[in-house]
């Protein structure tokens, strides 16, 4: 009988595979001792930021980063992660598998408890995002109903076992980021407008039929409060990432699924009672940002929205009062953004850079973790 080496873990051929992969990993520069890589000053010991990442050895993890940029801890993941939902009061977090995600891992931000893994039902997969209810008792996750192709919001009990206790519609296809507004009662879902078939990985289904929207949903009942779509001429702009300010204004960053030459502007806003308006800079930016916003974050003071365009190596700031693009940071493959107090941001890149941007003329502080590739999202914890 022909022996199949390529799926076995104890065969000679697999040793060769390990040799191949090991050789590739060894080519990367050796990673410095993490503890030595924090910014100058007293060493911080409490996690301030979290991000999924690929490590220098090619494996995946969620990284906990101190306020000085030092990586405090790494929790291994079985596959690539995406976003991290934070529950500030009890200092818990959940990292989600990347679309199509089949796992989530709950962990204590201070490492006081063992991490717990849980999964969506067999006919659902995660889209990589979620958030905790205001009281921390529930976790809401954006999911895909594999059978119907419709988007759903899964509801999980956080009190023990991460049991899935229900779901309601996302009111669209391909829900990506979902956030809770400051009222604690309203959820906003970025329905990207297209799905994928988990059997074939990440390939998009029926882009021509896209109908993206921002759905405002009552968290208590799951009923739809408002749904804001896009004009037909730009319905290939997939609404993906969201950030809200205290006024209930929700900003989004989109990803253009059509030809780059046809890319519209990528950043817009809406609120419960106001439909989507796309901000139009004096000089069009959609094409130069390569039609792709990878994440967005609102400054702590609510004044600025930062939107990352990793394909262009740029992060732009929009003034939420004037709707104008007012600042830009160049950071190669920069995608993760988190507020770091006031109107400042910290950002991370696929090239292992963590960059602290400051107000005024003060130069940014930068750290580099050789071989580490930070994933799309960075979260303040």
């Amino acid at each position: 009988m022909l022996k199949s080496y390529w799926g076995s873990t104890n065969s000679m051929a697999i040793d060769r595979r390990h040799f191949l992969i090991g050789s590739l990993v060894a080519l990367g520069a050796a990673r410095s001792a993490l503890a030595a890589e924090g910014l100058a000053g007293a060493a911080a010991t409490e996690a301030a930021y979290a991000s999924a990442a690929r490590r220098p050895d090619g494996t995946y993890a969620v990284l906990l980063i101190a306020a000085d940029g030092k990586i405090l801890r790494e929790i291994p993941l079985s596959a690539r992660g995406h976003d991290v939902a934070i529950e500030h009061a009890s200092r818990r977090a959940v990292v989600f598998g990347r679309r199509p995600g089949f796992f989530a891992l709950a962990f204590d931000l201070d490492g006081r408890r063992e991490p717990e893994v849980f999964a969506p039902p067999a006919d659902r997969h995660f889209y990589g995002h979620g958030f905790f209810s205001q009281d921390g008792r529930l976790l809401y996750t954006s999911e895909h109903n594999v059978e119907s192709g419709e988007g759903v919001i899964g509801i999980y009990d956080t009190s023990g076992g991460w049991r899935r206790i229900g779901e309601f519609p996302s009111y669209g296809v391909g829900p990506h980021e979902a956030i809770m507004l400051a009222d604690g009662k309203t959820m906003v879902v970025a329905n990207g407008g297209f799905g994928s078939d988990p059997a074939t990985g990440r390939e998009s289904i029926d882009l021509a039929g896209m109908e993206p929207n921002m759905a405002f949903v009552d968290l208590a009942t799951g009923s739809l409060k408002a749904s804001h779509g896009l004009p037909p001429e730009i319905n290939m702009l997939s609404v993906r990432h969201l950030a809200a300010n205290a006024k209930g204004e929700v900003w989004f960053g989109g990803q253009w699924q059509g030809g780059l030459e046809d890319s519209p502007e990528l950043i817009g806003r809406a609120s419960l009672d106001k439909s989507i308006s796309i901000i139009e800079p004096a000089d069009p930016m959609g094409v130069s940002l390569k039609g792709y916003i990878g994440s967005v974050a609102m400054s702590a003071d609510g004044r600025y929205l930062a939107a990352s365009a990793p394909r262009a190596g740029r992060i732009v700031y929009a003034d939420t009062e004037t709707g104008r693009i007012v600042h830009e940071v160049k950071i190669e493959d920069g995608c993760g953004i988190a507020e770091s107090g006031g109107s400042e941001f910290v950002m991370s890149s696929g090239h292992g850079v963590v960059r602290f941007e400051h107000d005024g003329a003060r130069a940014p502080d930068m750290l580099s973790f050789t071989g580490t590739e930070f994933d799309n999202h960075l979260r303040r914890v």
Partner: protein, 372 residues
């Protein structure tokens, strides 16, 4: 309009630094290390444009063959010619399906040629609706282009052309005639889309010139580091497509108890392996055209040996996949072929993305390569 000659002259100047840098090395050790601009020029002029020309030839023949089938008195030879022309087009498209930048990305052209994946059988469902409605205006020139993309391309034509119970052109009954006319309209639509892609690449204000002349006055590309990134990303995308469409779904389905069936592209036409093989051959050719293998790191000579063996192994496994699936699905031999393909596809991709591209100073970001 910038001519090929001018382009080649400017690229030759850009290559100067490479030649000077290599002059002191022993002749036998000299790899031909192309600049970014040369990689793109060769990829466009030696791979993309010729393959698009082939595609348009095949779609034109398929269009004519389908029209012939629908004429009165069509015989089996005419039907066989239509089937053969469909296979030719599938092979031609397999060579291009992973080139997803440029004209194909506009006006839904990618999905209008091939609507896939189709997990909920949208194509069959919508086709049935059209056949039931039998609207004559749908058969007018250009009318199909306004319909759902699911009924415009090869996926839809396959449904109509490979139905043993209702062979095209075999009946003069009204339903059968409409069915044949719809198939013919689909073939015409595919031909039109292929022509649009061709014109987009080489016509007036062509994408070819945009990608070959990056600069501050070019809205799409600032420099050759951006254009070469699109070319290398296309190879990575193609390798992913081969794995995610043909290998992983089978392995996942076979791992179920009991094993599940899985839908693969062009199964009905028995062209699954042909489509996969044409993609793999094209990916290998594009890889070789870029000259990326010259960027194998000096301390990793084993990659120079691994890459051609992996391509060869992939093609050998792809060639027998259809038969294995038909005659001994789930057998050790079938699983072995699938796992070996997964290994080779992943290995080649890993080497390109993590080794050759960085060594050639082509930056493929972790978040920008396959974003979400």
């Amino acid at each position: 309009m910038i001519s090929n000659r001018l382009l080649r002259m400017s690229l030759a100047a850009a290559m100067g630094a490479f030649v000077v840098g290599l002059a002191a090395a022993p002749a036998a050790a000299l790899p031909i290390r192309k600049s970014h601009a040369t990689m793109v020029l060769d990829a466009v002029d030696q791979f993309i444009v010729p393959h698009i020309q082939t595609l348009t030839q095949k779609t034109a023949r398929m269009n004519a063959a389908l029209q012939a089938v629908c004429k009165e008195g069509a015989d089996d030879a005419t039907r066989r010619a239509a089937v053969a022309s469909f296979a030719d087009t599938v092979r031609a498209w397999g060579s291009l399906d992973f080139i997803r930048f440029g004209p194909v990305s506009r006006n839904h052209r990618l999905e209008r040629v091939l609507f896939w994946p189709d997990p909920r059988a949208t194509t069959s469902r919508q086709l049935n609706g059209l056949l039931a409605a039998r609207k004559p205006e749908l058969l007018e020139a250009g009318a199909l282009a306004k319909q759902s993309v699911a009924v415009q391309g090869l996926t839809a034509l396959e449904v109509l052309l490979f139905d043993e119970k209702a062979p095209l052109g075999a009946s003069t009954e009204e339903t059968a005639r409409y069915r044949c006319a719809l198939a013919s309209a689909i073939a015409a639509n595919i031909d039109t889309v292929a022509s649009e892609i061709s014109t987009g690449w080489t016509g007036e204000d062509s994408f070819r010139l945009k990608i070959l002349t990056p600069g501050s006055d070019n809205a799409l590309y600032q420099d050759a580091s951006e254009t070469v990134r699109d070319v290398v990303k296309a190879i990575a995308t193609g390798l992913d497509l081969c794995k995610n469409r043909f290998v992983t779904p089978e392995l996942t389905a076979l791992d179920e108890t009991p094993p599940k069936r899985v839908r693969l592209p062009f199964e009905r036409a028995e062209l699954t392996g042909e489509f996969l093989t044409s993609s793999l051959v094209a990916l290998r050719d594009l890889f070789e055209t870029t000259g990326l293998s010259a960027y194998v790191p000096a301390d990793k000579p084993w990659m120079t040996d691994f890459l051609p063996k992996a391509w060869k192994s992939l093609l050998a496994d792809a060639a027998r996949l259809d038969k294995l699936r038909a005659t001994e699905r789930g057998s050790e031999a079938h699983l072995h072929a699938l796992r070996k393909m997964r290994f080779d596809l992943s290995g080649i991709r890993l080497i390109i993305v993590k080794e050759l591209a960085p060594n050639a100073e082509i930056v493929l970001g972790f978040n920008e390569l396959d974003g979400d």
